[in-house]
Every structure is written in structure tokens, then in C-alpha cells.
Symmetry: D4
Subunit: 226 residues, 8 copies
């Protein structure tokens, strides 16, 4: 069995599912619709389980839409063969309404790959009681994705409250000194709450994949425990 | 009366007390002890009220110490003719122990110029209950100085809890992505809590002076109210 | 009484008025018109006093315009139930004509929440006599908002002339080395005039809210004085 | 039971162990030896399990050394009551010899809090066969900590090979365009391998704590599975 | 013979072919179509060998298209009198599909000036086996151009595998912390593999010209060897 | 005589001509056509000599065009009452064709305010002989304006050749690491040729005004010499 | 006559005096005392007029002190054969005492090369009346050197008051957001006062050389006028 | 034969000589003398040809000096078994005396690995004739290493004159806006002369290794030609 399939413009990694429990996920920007369609077709043929395209603009989605995948315009994620929900629960927490699209991407990817998702939106620290009101529910999740722009303080406060892994996602919400997400990124990296992990700006996808890696280990630990 | 007195290396502003209710405060770095001493002598002679030198290293303090001022090595502030405490109360809140020296400077300057000070140290958001335990006391102050390094989240959380002015002081505590205080600075400037004001990195002095300006207005409003 | 009302996409903070004397102000960008309208409706129902939306583009304003609020296209602020003018006077000073929109936002928000506003436009330091001609009038205000782009020198010069609080607002006016407002921001943070406070780039809103916090304290001091 | 104990210079968080399964870990810089000693004494008295101080210089360690903790000068970690090794295995992988001290900190903290550690040193991508030779062993761990300075490519390559969580630690090894670790930090955040999580520059401690959070969840999942 | 021909808006360097074995290559942006046409006409008249315009938008190409050059819209290169393939082989390697346009420019320029090109696309390190499968073929080239965005790790891995010169081209593919190519640029400059050379972001042209300089020396060495 | 005329949106400086030998020059961006027209009308009425508007887009120029000024779309400068050429000669030197618009602005402003201009275009250092061929002519000018983007090396080379003042203008020509002119700016500020002065990125206007200041002094020296 | 003299470690430019009216000035850092001595000896032998070394530490000065030059430890300038004062007057203006060493260098170099110097120290804008008191004297100079750290507002204010050339020198005085002089540099480059020229941070030398270039032109204009 | 030898703190790459024609070169910083000694011993035992340590401080060199290598304190390079000079000639060109140590490293490494070196020191563009005087000699080399700090213009000028490969090395010589070499780095990356390649700041080593890669190809081409 070939480990990759070269298409000229792309070289599809067919061994990834075996290595990481999930086929390659296609990043939309910089690819033409027909290129995306060709890659998806290879993945549908040569792998099992969910196939996803992220950051797919509606026009591109329309151009490849006859392939019967499901497209969600808010998250810009297109999906084929979504997984059934499994054991791991992810709490997805946002600071403000403007962080919504990043959360949408995280939710769409996490759900499609079989993670259970609970959402806590607009609980930023300017009105702290909103967060405290749901703190116990957040603590009950297996991993928390904390999404915030501007100064990104939500990540530190959440990480101080919970013991589980916290994946912080800085967003480009804000203006001026927010520096298109760089400020939240730096702030999350220097969180006074220990053990916060950070992914790239606006990368709801990255957070979902970090949760996927956690589920990979959890599954293995459980299998060993039997 | 001359509005300034040129000494060659310096040109002492004698009109500032009249304009702003406080004589010029001497910034120590870049001045030789004998220069500092000469400026202080002019201020003691030509103005009334407190005279201060900030960021004064112990060796420099010793070199000018025969002038009977009070030197506090922790805050590096030297002071002559401190003011009696007056009406305005400043809450000085720090995130961690490493922010202590900046708080010390704010406390020393604020006290010397006649503000009442209440301190709340090491109440950073990694252990949020520490802050919530004193929130009512902080709310009772007339102005809050929030001092934090690393991601500086304390400023946002405090500003969300209180209605009074919040002067945020980023500190250079932290390493790596803390960028010597730039991260906390940017974070405070983009606080999701509205109306936070920010001064320069490590500038306990700047925060105290912002509080002084508030007291200046408060005094005037009170005088008018009579 | 619930402290917040979750709408799914937003979680309206109903306790803010009690904490800070003013209901949550809605930041327009990243929200759809129907979302803004829903939030405004909650605020009009559950709180008293002024309700504001900032950074609202004309098209969005039109889409929610049947709610009988007042929309000002220059400041991009929409307002319901503006407060009557109260005791505190804010001087809003700009360096150049290009800083106008930021001043417009500060004026619109400050006026709507009940502050008295005096405006001094285009008095930048390249023609210093223009500023000196109005210096006494600026000194008479209770707080000064100094708005400038490019090198932002206005803030330092104004703060050297007055004793009251100075809230400096850097603007993105300028090009090249102005770095979209970062230069003015850094310059204002390092002002040689002590006690200058700085808010985010182009944040007329932030300056008005800082003034609101001052009025909050002034009101309390006055109440205590009785 | 009090949730925190204020010491004036510090406010010890006594509730953290309950929230996060581990007492507060003391960050050495900016604290005087007697302050560190006092905090440690409180933690030893009021909590159970491991007590650690990080970034402790040898001189400071000597000054507090009569408290019978174990000090390791290479990692600069001092430890009391280390935990027995438990279920979770952490692979700690470094790119070069210069990344050693950061790995030492990660190893010392992880071991002290009860994680099993396997080390793979100096397997940077300039000689890729060194990494490939141990790839299977790395894949067998439950979480991988990838530590690299310069361009930080190790994190991407490792994350491409394994399915488990990857915590990337940029180090300040390198010069010039390495920008004291900022280059590796940015590179790791933009890894082409999905789901890489990043902690602060040189923060072996942060990586160990991220692993601790993973173990926290794994333990809970296992408890639930019974 | 004049060494340059001033056209008012441009001053065509006629001596370059003699100095460097290749006529001046015209950079399209900032020039109007008629200006480009005029410069090309001079070069066709006064020099021999290939004449190229880079970064030429299709509309501009159309406007000057009656000059019978060959225009390739993917690489945005227009070419007259391409050279026959000569001795030197360039391997052009890309990390992902989004790096394609930069590779297209490198291929178009290199081919036009007489270099032999072999392409290896989408062999980024997230699926390392794809690169290892073609490693021997890459080693067989005389120079390798490694093109990658995001974290740019491809350059380090390739340079560790081959002994020949490696010209690394960072691309602006990626988002957030990729900083429009700056991250890949810095990463390539700090490669742990020794002797990597770097050109400007997205400069497929620069890489081809670096290869041209190598061919210039190789040709001379061969000539001397005879 | 009033020193300034407040128009509400602007506060025209009427004293500038007296102080600096030239009326205020109007910066177009951020002003509406009717505002520009009003300011120009005041300047035409209350001052003598040239009146200029810079960075004026064609549409705005059309909107105010019935005021009989001269508009040059290449430089985006509109001018009334240009001065007759006077004693001082400015050499305006550019590195490449893409620097043309900045040179156009410098030429338009300098000419309008009465300086003599000599132009040397596209003499960048990649073909050094082009510059050397005109070096003597450049040396004959009274001041040199060196305009370059990319790495800005032209400024250093020119300043090494001439004894007269060199005003360096970095331009935003280039891409990637050119950082929209910041690279050329930094390079010019650190020129190895002593005494180079630098103005803002793309500021042909700033260079012309620096030359105007030189002419101001030269005129005064000449007057004194008589 | 040779245009340069290679010494191995240096290649002395013997033609510079002819081109620019002044021999090469030696930059001290990075050269050993014996290397500096050798270069100075060549310059004393092969050129006429002043010979200078800048940024020379006292220890290095002592090591080469037997060459009978004059060393000034405050400016760190060593000088042989200073020129007699000539026609051009330079006003050197500083914002604060901490800018003193930069002013010292400017004064030392300017004086040594024959410019007349007038000094105005510590007239920063925080006490504007100090500057206004000497404004007429500054206006009388032929060129103004404005030296300031922190926010560098002095340059804008001075340039608004005078018509002559203004050379702005940012200094590294200040801390935090002053970014070691970068803030003042950016601020000066974006001055709202037109025609300000900027040299490198802390470069009193650069300012003096810019003034030298002005004198070069003034002298030539005067010669032509005869 | 093992491809690498793990020593615990290091993992010596024994296959590199085979891949790249040269054994691993040891980077000194961050390694203890006994670690360096152990690595060197392995390389001397298991490989043939030159063995080098770079950036080795004199004290560390002394500590390992009984191993009979040759240590050069100026370049900080220690060498065993230097290669005999071979076919390829490298011209090493510096802008100023302060660039000397970087050139020393390039010379030491290049010589030790068998390249022929010709040096051209202190020929920066402020005195262009110095460079023009040796231009023909530089053109005769097979590759040029252009070393410059400050604005780094030397690289562009040299690359405009020669047809052979140019490896540009930015140095940290300079102050203020030179940003410790970042300015020269950016400038070299955006050189208007096509095909310039850049290595890390101060990396004389990197330049020598880039030349080594060129020689690797040249040797192979020659072998094939036979």
C-alpha cells in the first residue's frame, strides 16, 4: 500500500490515519476547488472515517458541493463521514461574541471527529460572574478550549479554576494594540496559571486537533487498562 | 518670580507646583549624585510641599544622604517634607510577589504626596478566590492601581469588578514571551473591561501621579461644591 | 434577579449597571444586526439609563433602525435613553483634523452617558500658539482627553499645562513610521509629563469610559461629603 | 479552612491542590530566600504531596537549604516530598545539547509530581536519522514534550510522527535571528503538523504542568471507567 | 557602447549581461504596461539571451502582449528568447500546495535562464515519509531550492539530508503567528542545518537568481578545468 | 491679526508663514473635499505665496477643482500660486522606477515652493555605473534627496560621494522583508556614511520641506552676508 | 596620491577630506587602542584639519593618550587639530538631563569641526515655559539639533517654532515603552511639524555631521555669491 | 556502523561526513568543556578530515587544550586535522573594522575545511573607491562572502558588481536603529541586486558552510565532467 499519492499539485498523505487515528485534514486557502475535490476524492477512497476541509469559502464549497459533503458556512468547515460521538468531552469557552467564528470552527471539527462538545459563550472576565456561574460545568469537561481576543485574560482565569488541560486560542478580535491577535497570543503564553497550552491565532482547528491528540492517548490508556 | 532656574545640566521648573499642585519630581537615572543634590536643594528652597527623587540607587542615596531626606531602599524613593494624608484613597493591587518593587514605588510616591494607600498583594487570577475575598475592600477605594506582569490579566478582572478609575501598571515580571513587560502592556491596553487606563512598564511612579491628578480634580470639585 | 441573560451568541451582563453605574455598552463589529438588536432589546428591558452601540456601520444601523435609537454616522454610535448632562466636564482636545472621528466617538459616548463636553480641535503642536490660546479653557475642565496620531506630542504638552487627569488617545492618523497608531501609543506611554494615562489606539470610547470612571468616584466623594 | 494565607509579600493559595491536584509551585525569581522559605513552610504545613521551587539559583538554594529539601543545580528545581511515579509516561525530546537546561527543568518537575519520564536528547533534524532511530520509543509515550531552540523544527517533525499530544517548548538557544527564542516560538505555533500546543520560551516547567493536566484528566477518565 | 540607457522613468542597465551573464530582469509592480514594454524593447534590441518580466499581472500582460513574449499566468512571468537547458540541475521542493505560486515563479525563471529543473511538491514534514521517499532524487541535484511557509521546517530537514547548496525561500502561506512569512524567514535563517542560505519572502525569483549565480561559477570552473 | 482661524473641524495656522516662510501645507487624507476647499480658501485669503494640498486623490481633486488650482495626478499635489524658482538646487535621486511616485511628490512640492530641481531616476546600486555616471552632477546640487525602497543602499552610496546635505527618503517599494518601507528606513538611519538625515517612509513632502528649511537658512545667511 | 591606505584591519579613506571637507572620523567601538592609534597617525600624516575619534572609552583613551590629542570623558570624543570656529551656528537643545551625554557628543564634534554651538539644556515640554523662554534665541541659530528621549516631543515643538533646519536625535533615555530610543525615533520621524530630519538613536555625532553638511553647502553658496 | 553515538548530553552524528563531505562541527556555547572534549574525541576517532569547534571562549579552549588542537582566539575557532587547500576560492569582504571578528570566523572555518580565502577588509560604501579599487580581484573569486553591519549596503553593491554567488552576512556592528544586526539582515534580504543569499547575524560560520556546499557541488560537477 502506497503511503502517499502524488497528484502533482498535492501529495496526499495516506499513512496519517494509521499514525494518528485520523486522515489528513485539508486546509482550503491556496487550493482551487477542483484541487480540493481531487484530494477529497482520494481521501474518501483510500481512507476510512471523517474527511474534512477547513477555511472553505462558500463559493469554493458550492463549486465542490456535488460531492455530497456537509458544509457549514459559519465554521467554513465541509465534512464527509462524520464520526459518532465518543468518550471525550471538550468544553469550548469564548470571551465574547466576536470570538464566535473561531469557536464555530473548533466545534465543527471536534464534533466531526467524534468528540463531545459543550459550549460556554460570551463569558469574558469583564463580567466575571458569568464565568463563575458555569465554572462547575466547565470543570466537568475532559479538556477546555479557551478562546479569546483582545487581552485574552479568559485563558488565565479558566486555567486557574480547572485542573484539566487548557488549550488557549487567541483570536484576532479587537483593534489597535490587539495587533490582530498577537497580544492575546503573547498573553496566553505568559499566563500566570501553570500548564496552559497555546495554538495559533484564530485556530479553532488547531484546538480541536490538540483535543484529538488527547483523546488518542486517553483511548490508548483505556485500552491498556482493560 | 522666575518660572525656572537653569543650573547648566538642568533647568528646574519652579512653576509646576502652581500648575499642578506638586513640585517637579526628580528622576534619578542619568544624573550624578551632586546634580541630584543641587536640584533637590533648589526645590527645597523655592517650593513648598513634598520633594521626591525616584529610582535612586542606594549608592547614590548614600552620596546625597546628608541632606536629611528619607530614603527607602525597596522603593528606591527618597523624600523630603512628605505631605499629611488627605482625602483620596488608592487601592494598590498586585498579581504576584515579583510585582512588589513596582508596588513599593507606587506606595512610596502616593504616600509622600498625601494619598491614603491600601495594599492588596499577590492576588493574581491563577487563584481567583484570593481576589474575590478582597473585592469589596478594593471597590471601596477611590481609585485602583492594578499592577501585574506576565499576561497582566489582573487589570481586566479588577476593572470588571469595580466602578472607580483603574490605572493599570504592566511590570517586567516574567520571561520569554512576556517580552520584558510589553505583553502585559499590550494586554492592559486591550482590556475587555472598559475604561482601563495604562501607564508605562514598571512605572509605579506614573500610577501614583495619575492618582495625584485625580485627587487634584476631586479637591477642586469639592471646593466648588462648598 | 439573574445577573446575566444568555442568548446563545451572547451572554448579556445585567449586573454591570449596579457594579459600575452604567449598563454594558455593545461593541458592534463581529455581531450581526439581528444580534445587536436582540442585545439592545434586553438592555432596554432589563436596565435603566443609556444604552449604546459603538463602531456601528451605517448599513448595520439601518438594519436595526426601527428600534427608535439615535444614530450618528460620524461617530458610528447609536444611542437610546441618553443621560442628562451632569456635573463633570471633559475637555476633548485633538491634534489634527484626521483625529476627528476618534474625537467624535469620545464626544458621542461621553455626552450620552451624561458628561459635559468641551471640544478643542486641531490644536496640534506644529502651531503651538493655537493650543496656548485655549490653555486656560482646557485647564478649567475636570478631565482632559488628548487625542493625537503621528507622534502624539499633544498629550505631553497638554499634560504639562494642566493639573487634572489626562487620558491620552493615540490615533492611527499618519503613515509609514506612524505604524497605524503604535508610534503615538508608545510616545504617550513614555510622556515626559507625569501621570498621563493611555487607552487603546483610536479608542474614543475607552477615553469616555475612563472619564465615566472618574465621574463615578467624584459622585461618590461628593455623596460622602454631604 | 482558609483558602489562602496572606503573608504580606505573598498570599499563598491553599485551595489549589483541591482544584488541580497539586499545591502551588513557587517561582523563585523576584523573591528573597527568606520569603521563599516562608512560603514553602506554609505549603509543607497546610498541603500534602510535592512542594517545589523553580528557577532557584544555587545561592538562594543554599540560603534556604536547611529545610531538608532536595536541590538539583542543573534544573534549578528544589523539591520536598516528591510523588511516587504513576501511570502517565512523558517523552522529553530535545533538538540539541544547548536545550539541556530546559529539559532538565521539565524532567525535574515532571518526576517530582509523579510522572514517568523517558528522555531523548540531541536528536535534532540536522541529522534526521537520530530521531528516526528512536521514533517508535517516542510514539509509545502518552505525551511528548518537544524542546528546541533556533528554528524549532523538531516539534513539527515529531508531531508528524506521533498521534499523542505534543507540547512544544521553544528555547532561547541560538543567536541573531533566533531572537532569544521568539523565532522558535513562532515556528512552533505555526507548525504544519496539526494539534501542536506551545508553552512559553524556556518553560520546561510549563511543559511539565501541561503534562500534569493531562494526567489529571487521564486519572479521572480511568476512575470513571471503573 | 553606452552602459545604460535612460528612458526618464527608467535607466536600463545594458552592462549587466556582461557582468553577470544575464540581462536585467524587469520587476513588474510599480511600472505601467507601456513602461514595461519600452524597457523590454530596449533589452531585446541591445542585449542577447533571455528577457524576463516578473510579477506581471494578467491585465498588464495583456496590455503588452503584442510583443510576442510568452506569458505564464500561474508564475506571472513573461519571457522572450528563453535559453536552452544547460548543465546545472535545480531541485525545487515545496512543503505544501499553498507554496505553489512561489515555486511556479522559481521554475519559470530558472527554466527561462537555462537551468534544468526537477520539482518535488507538497513534501512537507507533517508527513515525513513523503520527503524521505524522494530524498535520493533531491540529493542528485546540483542545488536545492526549499520553499515553505508556516514554520518553514522543510528547509532544515532538506539541508540535513543533502550536501549541495540549499537556497531557502520562506513563503507567506499560513496565518496568525506566521506573520505573512516572517516566521518562516526567521526560522530558515536559524536553521540547525549548517550552510542554509535564505532569500526574501515569496521570492521564487531570488532563488532562481541565486541558482544562476551558482551556474555562473560552475561554468567558469569548468572552463578553467579545460 | 489673529494667529489662527478656527473652522470647527480645523484651526488654520495663520502665523506659520511668518515663522517659517511658508503657509501651512494641507495634508489631504482624513479631510472631506469641502473641508479642504474651506481651508484652502482661508489660506488664499489670509496668506501670500504658494498654497498646497498633498496626497489628494483625483476624486477629491475633482470635487474642489473649481478653485482654479493646478492638480498633478502623479504626485497627487494640488497647488495655487506657485513660487518662482529661486537660488537653491535640489538633486532628487531615485533607486528604481517603483520609487517614482515619492519622487513625484518631492518634485511637485519643491518646485511649487521655489526650489530648483534636478532629477536622477533609476540609478540604484545594482548597476552602480549608472550612479557613477551622474555623480558629478549630483555633487553640484545644494542638497540631495535620496529616495529608495527595498534595502535603501542608495542613500549610503550617495552620501559617501557628496559633501552636501543628504535627505534620505525610504519608500515602501519592495515586498516581504522590506516590511513596507521599515527596512529601508532602518537602513538609512544606520548609514555608514556620516550625516545622513532621514524623513518618514514615502514622504517626498517631508524631504521637500527639509530642503525648504535649508533654503530658509541659506537665504538668511546670504542676507546677513550682504 | 593614493585614495586609501590599507592597514590590514582597516583601509583608511584618504580622499574623504577632498570630497566632503573633513577627514574620516574614527568610530571607537570594535577597534583596539593600537588600531585606533595607527589610524589616527595616518590621518594626522596624510590629511589636514581636525582628526577625531568618537565613543572612545577612558581606558582606550588612556592607552593612546601619548599622542597628545585632547580627550573629553563626558563626550567620549578625542580630538587632534580642532578647527577654529566659523560662520555657522548650531543650537543644541535637550529635553532632559538624561540626554546630556548625547548632547555632549554633538557639542564636542561640532565644536571640533569649526561650528559655533549654543546650548539649551533641559527644556523639555513637561514645563513648556522653559522652552518658550529661549525660543527666540533658538530661532536665531542656523540649524537646530533637538535631542530627546522618552516620547521625543521636543523635536516637534521646536520644529513648529523655528524655520531653520531641525535635526532630531532620539536618545535611549527612558525605560519600558521607550524601547531604548525606538519610540522617540519613530515619534520624531512622524512629527506633525514638517521637514524634521532624523538621525540614529543617541547619535550626537550624526547630528553634528548633518550640521557639517549644511555648513558645506552654506560655504559653497557664499563662495558662489562672491 | 552506527550512524550516531549517544553520549547522554549529546548524540554525535557519525553519518554526516558521508552525507555532506564534512563531519559535524561543534557549536561551543551551552556545552561544558568536558562535554566538548568528549564530542571532539568521538569525532577524531570515528571520522576523518577536519574537526572544528566554533564560538569557543578562551577559558573553555584552555580547559580542553591538552587535546593538541589549534585554537585561534580572534575567531574563537578550535581546529584539529585542518584540510589542505583545494580548488574553490572565497573572497571575504568586510564593510568596516567592527565586522572583523565575524570575518575571522568565516576565514578560520573556510580555511580549515580546505577552501582558499582572499580577504578584502574595510571597503564599505562610505568610501566607495576603496571597493572599486579591488572589484576585479573580488570578481575573480568563485564565491563572495559580504560581511557588513549597520545598513549592510556592501552586500548590494558587491552583488551588483560580480556574477558569482554572494553570501551576505549581517553583523551586529552598529547601535540604535541597527537593532543588533536585524537592520542589516533585513536590508540584505531585500537587496536590489538579484540572487543575494543571506545567513544569520554574525554567522561567519554559516557563510563558510554555504561556501562548503558550493564546493561540494563544484567537486561533483568536475568529477562528472571527467
Amino acid at each position: 500500500v502506497a503511503a502517499s499519492l502524488p497528484l502533482g499539485f498535492a501529495n496526499v498523505d495516506l499513512a496519517r490515519q494509521n499514525r494518528q487515528g485520523l486522515a489528513e485534514i485539508v486546509y482550503g486557502p491556496g487550493k482551487r476547488p477542483e484541487e480540493i475535490a481531487a484530494i477529497v476524492r482520494v481521501l474518501l477512497d483510500r481512507t476510512s472515517g471523517p474527511v474534512l476541509v477547513t477555511r472553505l469559502e462558500p463559493a469554493a464549497a458550492a463549486a465542490i458541493g456535488d460531492m455530497t459533503g456537509h458544509y457549514d458556512p459559519r465554521s467554513r468547515v465541509m465534512c464527509w463521514r462524520p464520526a459518532a460521538p465518543r468518550e471525550m468531552t471538550v468544553a469550548i469557552v469564548t470571551a465574547g461574541t466576536a470570538d464566535g467564528p473561531v469557536a464555530d470552527e473548533a466545534v465543527a471539527v471536534a464534533t466531526a471527529i467524534g468528540l463531545r462538545v459543550r459550549q460556554f459563550r460570551d463569558v469574558g472576565v469583564a463580567g466575571l460572574h458569568r464565568l463563575l456561574a458555569v465554572a462547575d460545568d466547565i470543570c466537568a469537561a475532559d479538556v477546555v478550549v479557551a478562546i479569546a481576543g483582545m487581552e485574552g485574560a479568559l485563558a488565565s482565569v479558566v486555567a486557574g479554576l480547572v485542573g484539566v488541560p487548557v488549550v488557549a486560542v487567541p483570536t484576532s478580535a479587537g483593534y489597535g494594540a490587539a495587533l490582530e491577535g498577537v497580544t492575546a497570543l503573547l498573553a496566553m503564553l505568559t499566563s500566570c496559571a501553570a500548564g496552559v497550552c497555546v495554538v495559533n491565532i484564530d485556530s479553532g482547528f488547531g484546538a480541536a486537533m490538540a483535543a484529538h491528540r488527547l483523546a488518542f492517548t486517553a483511548r490508548r490508556l483505556r485500552a491498556e487498562a482493560r
